[in-house]
């Protein structure tokens, strides 16, 4: 499959960078064609500008400021997100990628008086999230995992109706050890290669 990997962490020496390496290697070993977007490295600007917001609903024109990113999501059949969960959600950088790139007409048809919202990204058949959380599993569940839901329910609704999902999290990052991290990387490898 054509797999787009969207990576978001400011530190090249972070554990997340290791997770990314494992994810990419695993996907390639499984025979997927991988395209990587490293949002921090590319210095992506996450805040949608006033000009973009004004032209947000203009067919074709709304794609222009983010053409190459839109090309990515039109090209891929699978998206794998690798990011740290901050404040139970996506880092602003990654949230901005959704805000700016998943524009109307391309990714969905805007609802009208007679018709509801219609998804347009049916070519995306797999979404995986590989993330690290400071919180425990219990606290994450209690809060309701807003970040997970933004992607796995909100954005997934724009993809194929039977889009398969995979969510792999390392909880309690602040007290993680070499063992827990190694176990997590092994899990990422196993689950992603079977995905």
């Amino acid at each position: 499959m054509r797999a787009l990997v969207v990576y978001c962490h400011p530190c090249p020496e972070s554990f997340n960078a290791g997770v990314l390496e494992t994810a990419v290697t695993t996907l390639e070993a499984a025979g997927h064609e991988v395209r990587l977007r490293d949002l921090y490295k590319e210095d992506f600007a996450p805040a949608m500008s006033a000009e973009e917001r004004r032209g947000y609903h203009d067919i074709d024109d709304n794609v222009k400021p983010v053409q190459k990113y839109v090309d990515d999501i039109c090209w891929c059949e699978m998206i794998v997100f690798v990011y740290p969960t901050w404040w139970f959600g996506l880092p602003a950088m990654l949230k901005g990628w959704f805000d700016r790139v998943w524009v109307p007409h391309v990714t969905f048809t805007v609802p009208t008086a007679t018709q509801g919202m219609k998804p347009n990204m049916q070519h995306i058949k797999r979404i995986a999230v590989v993330t690290t959380c400071g919180a425990t599993w219990w606290v994450s569940k209690l809060i309701g995992e807003p970040g997970r839901k933004t992607i796995m329910r909100g954005m997934r609704a724009l993809c194929a109706p039977v889009c398969k999902t995979l969510y792999i999290a390392h909880y309690k990052m602040d007290t993680s050890t070499d063992q827990t991290r190694a176990r997590y990387l092994a899990k990422v490898k196993k689950r992603l290669s079977a995905f």
Binding site: P10, W86, F88, L90, K95, G96, D99, G147, M155, T175
Partner: protein, 193 residues
């Protein structure tokens, strides 16, 4: 009360801008002291940098890159957030405010890997927001932005402080009359804030 108003919409002619103006007018009419933080006008950079991430847990120095925002947050007695919901989350510019300003030592303290909330100067919270999606769709998705307000932020501010969430859904199909009604509701909520 000293109220910090966090506002996140780039377009000055938007309905979001009208909500923002209404919130400011009504809070002022109720006699509150307002600190209006318009994230777009102030050109807030929502990206947590590598340096900030490395120094994140050092409570002596972690505030330095955003010191002015930390001061404003800590000087406030209440917080009102005016924002659209985009893609079932807050706009990046607002999410980045939480990432960068809600730091260890400011909004929570870390002890043995556990976080304990400490933004106890905030004694009241309100969110005024609009969704493109319908209420039903937001419910099915699990309404992430509502959860951020009513669970995450609620947990961080003063215990049992009141939290209000004012939302208008299905914006693409709202009539002018419905928008005006919502503005009226927000006005009366802010006058009683």
């Amino acid at each position: 009360m000293r109220v910090l108003v966090l506002y996140a919409h780039p377009v000055e002619t938007s309905f979001g801008a009208s909500l923002h103006k209404q919130v400011l007018t009504s809070l002022a009419a109720a006699g509150h002291e307002i600190d209006d933080c318009d994230l777009y006008v102030e050109d807030f950079d929502p990206r947590l940098t590598r340096e900030e991430r490395i120094g994140y847990h050092d409570i002596e120095t972690n505030c330095a890159p955003v010191a002015a925002y930390v001061d404003r947050l800590q000087a406030a007695d209440a917080l009102v957030i005016v924002t659209p919901v985009w893609n079932f989350g807050y706009p990046a510019i607002l999410k980045g405010f939480f990432d960068r300003v809600f730091l260890p030592g400011v909004s929570f303290k870390m002890k043995d890997g556990k976080a304990s909330p400490c933004l106890h100067n905030i004694k009241k919270l309100a969110v005024v927001t609009t969704y493109g999606g319908t209420r039903l769709r937001a419910f099915l998705v699990g309404d992430p932005p509502r959860k951020i307000a009513t669970r995450v932020l609620r947990a961080v501010i003063k215990p049992v402080a009141p939290v209000a969430y004012h939302a208008l859904y299905d914006m693409n199909r709202r009539t002018d009359a419905e928008c005006t009604t919502f503005l009226g509701k927000v006005a009366s909520a802010m006058e009683k804030f």
